[in-house]
Amino acid sequence: MLSIPLGEDCSVEEFRAAARHCLARGIAPEDVHFSVGGTLPLFAEEAPERVSVANVRVPRGYANLVPKIVCHSEADRFALLYRLLWRIHRGERHVLDNPADPDAAKAQRYAKAVDKDIYRMQAYVRFAEREIDGARIFVAWHEPQHRMLRLAAPFFVDRFSNMDWLIATPIGTIAWQGGVLAFGPPAARPAEAGDTVLDELWTAYFRATFNPARLRVKAMVAQMPKRHWATMPETALIPDMVRAAGARVAEMETTAPETPPRFAERLAERMASISAQSGELLPLDVLREEIQSCRLCPLHGPATQAVPGEGAPEAEIMFVGEQPGDQEDLAGRPFVGPAGQVFERALLEAGIARQKTYVTNAVKHFKFEPRGKRRVHMKPSGGEVSKCRFWLDREISAVKPKLVVALGATAMLGLTGRPVPVTKARGQVIAADSFSILVTVHPSYLLRLPEKERAEAEYERFVEDLRKARDWCEAA
């Protein structure tokens, strides 16, 4: 049995040298003992190298674990690492990818423990401000479980690079002064000197942010082990906070509803006067506000807001679509999503200025079904369309267009109250009560066509329908 003493704070390089030495001599894991706490030997040639290890290529997974596991405080860490290296070298290159392998599982466990210790250092170090030789320096005392100071230091450097600080621990110190990082030998715990921010403000905050009605001491201790409490000033309050919680809750539950403070009534009056204020509004603006508070059908619940029509108050052409989509629902404006962009392009090609028209929908709220992070468009029911005719009629009466272009079947249903097949009536101008209707497809139909050629042809037809609408209006 070969015995190799390694230092308690053995570095990755030192372990690597020792492991290479053994590997080169074909020493099996069971024939070597890595003892911890000694000094590193110079590898004298007790036995000649039998295999060349100049290029021991290890998988990345192994290389990533070594720096962490070397820090672990368990004495068998080197044996574990060497055993894994041996297995990798003997052809089990993927041993670490198998979480059911006992060595791999243990290695992951050790690495995770070191990660957790680093995390807890990042979380639980408390800096107290000191003045040393006229300079401001933040000092802390922390007691880690593993020897991970070199792995933990970058966090503090990245975060507090413009501050001088020093973290002392039983296993060494980390100091950052004037932009230089230095690791030093273990230091004695600095004497308590008080820090008003920590001792007063921070502890007061800790007490105030606690909700006594939710007492769960076990959950707290599981996350914040007691061994760290000694260096965290706020934890001194915990026993009292826990003790008083029950009484605080009992008192809350028996407190009778109180009489409001005097200013409450004054504020209530002011609130009422704010909501009563409103200037002169145009009829269309009044209509928009009424649509916004519509509760005629349940669609208002899931939707963000109603999307009323918009455009010129005395437009000659009015466009009616089906219902707002995802983007329209967010913006509160009709035809601003993907279908709206197709619509806008087609208008431009047909020589119609959108701002001179009025654009609206048969149904004013977006009907959808939640599907994970998306909303899936749902066709409005006949009942919903018919309820919403109330608003469409009002928009038509307010704008008094000559021609209404129905974009798709739902628009037709909203305008006439009857289902009309779009394909049959398409491109024709139908006389209604006080206005005429021209039927065409909804622009979202053009987006759904999978074949490019067909889509292009249909788009051309759509533009053609819009031109018809323009010509009809000019002629009328």
Binding site: D101, Q122, A123, F206, N211, P370, G372
Partner: protein, 409 residues
């Protein structure tokens, strides 16, 4: 006599504690560079209070003066809670002082509506702007946005904050109208909609490959629903959160069990909502988002619209779908494995990685999962089959040992 900083902190931290969210995770990683502070992406809990909750951010209100009268809120105008107001510089200094001592990841700033939504929102933005621009603060900032504030202010908030949030508060509009008569559900949803649009614009690849100077709210947005202040069922709440997730690109919907504030209102229940109800809602939320369960599947397990408080929703589903089991650990798809009670996402990933290297027996399974107690009746391995165990009517009792609630949120 004017209040000193300590007294203000006590009042305004107490008033802010009913907001469940305190995370500092997600978003972009940053280092201090010329300023102070960093964001690691994973978020750090710097302490835990005896309620088991993580203290990551300095969570305070700018003021608890409020013109609104939302009955569930400790700061409503008709409450006799002591009132205080921080100056902008006081919050800035407090944040920096606590940050330098490594007590916090940053600031969570909310506020009562002291005069108007716009003035309040402008004050919140002022704090964040001062921290970022005057003090080079590069830590985490979570800003609460105010329903009804102007879209321009919301846009500005998103430039300084890592995360934004606006609480929907109640699962249903009717409840909001009753309990928070001056709040408008539409204004809240519009706020969430505006933020979603900005977040999506900000994360869209910019033309010409030039990185934007500042991303809009890189850690996204979240919202909160108060559970148990109104009569909404768990199903109402879950439906509502499913719609919120689908609509507003939310990182999280927080459920906050209603708890008494010491300033009761005659309209509200005197008893706190059991914490376990909140816990079951989170578990179900997780099933919907990470375990491939659909809302209709979950609905089946909600007789009367309420979740079973005595067992977790996944076990409840499994017990009422026993014909679905046992699941063969060595062959089943990821989707099926995720249905097994006691197997979390990580355990399932480990199983899938391990079975490429060889057949898994109970011993290996134990190493991959931690505990086999709940898993055993529902799985099949070469050396184990549950047999009649799965059909036992007493299976439920066997698996439901009285157990302390512990939730690491």
């Amino acid at each position: 006599m004017p209040l000193n900083l300590l007294q203000k902190l006590e009042i305004l931290a107490d008033a802010a504690k009913y907001d469940a969210s305190c995370v500092s995770s997600g978003g972009e990683k940053r280092k201090a560079e010329k300023g102070i502070g960093s964001v690691t992406g994973q978020g750090i809990c710097h302490a835990f209070t005896p309620d088991g909750r993580c203290v990551s951010l300095l969570k305070i209100l700018l003021t608890n003066f409020c013109i609104y009268d939302c009955v569930y809120c400790v700061s409503r105008r008709s409450s006799n809670a002591p009132r205080a107001r921080f100056k902008v510089e006081e919050v800035v200094q407090l944040t920096l002082d606590l940050y330098r001592r490594n007590c916090i990841e940053g600031l969570f700033l909310s506020s009562g509506i002291a005069r108007s939504a716009d003035e309040t929102m402008a004050d919140l933005v002022r704090v964040a702007k001062a921290l970022r621009e005057e003090h080079g603060f590069r830590g985490y900032i979570h800003l609460k946005t105010i329903p009804g504030a102007s879209p321009e202010l919301l846009d500005e908030a998103g430039l300084y904050a890592d995360r934004l949030s606006m609480n929907v508060e109640m699962p249903a509009e009717a409840a909001l109208e009753k309990l928070a008569p001056e709040k408008s559900a539409t204004e809240i949803k519009r706020g969430l909609a505006r933020a979603r649009s900005r977040i999506e614009e900000g994360s869209a690849p910019s033309r010409g490959g030039k990185a934007r100077l500042r991303r809009f709210a890189p850690a996204g947005q979240s919202t909160q629903i108060v559970v148990g202040a109104d009569s909404s069922t768990d199903l109402d709440i879950l439906r509502s959160s499913a719609r919120l997730y689908a609509s507003y690109a939310l990182q999280r919907v927080y459920y906050s069990a209603f708890s008494p504030t010491g300033h009761p209102s005659a309209v509200l229940p005197a008893e706190p909502t059991p914490l376990i109800r909140e816990h079951r809602l989170y578990q179900t939320d997780w099933l919907l988002r990470f375990y491939g369960f659909s809302l209709p599947e979950v609905e089946e397990a909600l007789p009367g619209g309420m979740l079973d408080l005595s067992i977790d929703p996944k076990l409840a589903w499994a017990l009422s779908h026993r014909d679905f089991f046992p699941v063969d650990v060595n062959k089943a798809s990821r989707e099926l494995l995720l249905r097994v009670p006691g197997l979390g996402v990580k355990a399932v990933d480990r199983i899938i990685a391990a079975r490429r290297h060889g057949s898994l027996r109970l011993a290996e399974l134990a190493r991959l999962t931690g505990s086999l107690k709940r898993v055993r009746p529902f799985v099949l391995t070469p050396d184990w089959q549950p047999g009649s165990l799965l059909e036992q009517p007493r299976l439920r009792q066997r698996l439901v040992a009285p157990q302390q609630l512990s939730l690491g949120l």
